[in-house]
């Protein structure tokens, strides 16, 4: 089973309160569908099933990823905060393992 590597997250350190800012995330992972054949054998299924993004503990985005999500899951989205916040990203795989990234975003 794939070892979960450190996520790559691009998030600004400082934003204007109430204004949209962009976040880009990339997680290296093969996202094996369990359908692929290699040398006559089926490669076992091994996928990240969830990306959870929280702002000060509250859910901001909760993504359920299925077979159709490409290898190395990549997501871009826009958040908005009213005060300085801790943004936490967690990826989950089917074996119950997690990879985390935390960022402090201050408001100007």
């Amino acid at each position: 089973m794939t070892t979960l590597t450190a996520p790559r997250v691009r998030i600004p350190r400082q934003v204007r309160a109430g204004e949209a800012f962009e976040i880009r995330t990339l997680m290296e992972h093969p996202m094996e569908t369990g359908l692929r054949q290699d040398a006559g054998r089926t490669v076992p299924r091994d996928i990240l099933t969830r990306l959870l993004v929280r702002v000060n503990g509250d859910v901001a985005l909760d993504a359920a990823l299925h077979n159709g999500t490409a290898a190395n899951p990549f997501h871009v989205f826009w958040l908005r905060i009213e005060r300085s916040s801790d943004v936490e990203f967690t990826w989950f795989d089917e074996a119950g393992r997690q990879a985390r990234h935390s960022a402090r975003v201050t408001t100007a």
Binding site: E19, A20, F21, T33, L35, R36, Q37, V55, D58, V59, A60, L61, D62, A63, A64, L65, H66, N67, G68, T69, A70, A71, N72, P73, F74, H75, V76, F77, W78, L79, R80, I81
Partner: protein, 146 residues
């Protein structure tokens, strides 16, 4: 008076339309996957910008952007975006749960497409209403079995 077959066909079609709101697919597996998410609700066209390439060279990495027209306020925001690939071995691609922390009802990602097919996107608003958008993509190299 006798019903002609064609008239019977028209009636059956009309009843089917009333009974099941139109989905952008006829495929039973895809219909089941969509019904599992939205139940018997119907989705209106429009209000969604769905960006996909017309021709995807590599079906294993197809860039997808979904942008839903939404103020993203506490009163009115998008609560979910669902992506379905109609001719993949399993139609479900991803389900995104959104909150008003999301400044825009927008998600970009990369998806797998096994072959030439239609992608269906559904968006649910906080008042329960649904929107849908579709895009047809030609795929040069399939992305699921390779």
């Amino acid at each position: 008076m006798r019903y002609s077959p064609s008239r019977r066909g028209v009636l059956a079609g009309a009843i089917a339309l009333i009974a099941t709101p139109a989905l952008a697919t006829q495929d039973p597996a895809v219909t089941a996957a969509i019904r599992a998410v939205i139940g018997d609700a119907s989705a209106e066209e429009g209000g969604i910008t769905l960006r996909l390439p017309a021709i995807a060279e590599n079906g294993g990495q197809v860039p997808l952007t979904v942008l839903v027209d939404s103020p993203q306020t506490a009163e009115r925001h998008v609560t979910a975006i669902h992506v379905f690939a109609t001719r993949n071995p399993t139609p479900g691609v991803a389900d995104f749960r959104l909150t008003p922390f999301m400044a825009r009802a927008e998600v970009q990602t990369r998806i797998r497409l096994a072959e030439e097919q239609r992608v269906i996107v559904l968006a649910r608003f906080s008042d329960g209403t649904l929107r849908q958008a579709t895009a047809d993509v030609r795929v040069t190299t399939g992305g699921c079995l390779t």
